[in-house]
């Protein structure tokens, strides 16, 4: 199982958390595609609370966190 935690505007039209079934080779890119979130819209991508890479394979039990960019002043 992979838990995906969504923050800020990523929650619009989605839940705060989404669960994916684990399979070998599942990665962030697959999850983003399923959630219909573009890579360029992600500012922070965490795997188990640490900075991660979208193309790296995930492990069963991992938690992904996705934050959109905040840039206004």
């Amino acid at each position: 199982m992979i838990k995906v935690k969504l923050f800020a505007t990523f929650r619009e039209g989605r839940q705060k958390e989404v669960i994916f079934n684990y399979f070998e080779g599942i990665n962030g890119r697959y999850i983003l595609d399923k959630l219909d979130i573009k890579e360029e819209d992600i500012a922070i991508y965490l795997v188990n609370g640490l900075d991660g890479k979208i193309d790296n394979p995930l492990n069963d039990g991992d938690t992904i966190s996705l934050f959109p960019p905040v840039g206004g002043g």
Binding site: I44, S65, G72
Partner: protein, 226 residues
Amino acid sequence: MGRYDRNMNMLSKEENERLRSFKVCVVGCGGLGGYVIEMLGRLGIGHITAVDKDAFEESNLNRQILSNVNNLGQYKALEAKRRMETVNPDVVVDSIIAEFNDKNAEGILKGHNLVIDALDNIQSRLMLQDICEKLNIPLIHGAIAGWYGQVTTILPGDRTLNYIYKNKVQRGIEKDLGNPSFTPALVASIQVSEALKVLLGRGDLLRKEVLYIDTYTQEYHKVRFD
């Protein structure tokens, strides 16, 4: 001195006096920058440089504390100086009416003890981080978008913005959400608290971590980058 009496239980007399010797550059005098300058000035930071190329317009009135119906059309950086003359005349405010860019950045920032990032776009923020690192100046980053905001304290070499704006994102969600009255005040307050601790050299900093603020759900997450 009566003006600073209420600071005295959290700051020592010596610390209060030291604040007058610091020079802080606030890059951007809009939503965040206006509140930041107000708070730095009331704390008694001796020298503030206010940088902004723009003049106030009507759409600023919903959130920019330095704007009012009487100063529309006036330069923001100049209004910062005028405001501080009425709030705390002890504070010297230098107004720089110019676009902050890679050609003038070094000249503007040189000689400051601390820089506050109150810019409104991601590209300029990344450039600001580079120049602060080059000049060995601590940088307090703050950004807002609708209900959301973020703050982090960047010491030279940390390059925390490279993590926060991953994938070289160009466009923040504020372009869709706009900005209300309360997130600038909230984020600016946290930035100033970080600024004070960096200047005085005490307290725990939001260093190598970002405080990601969601006032819609009132969730506050610290995300760590090492």
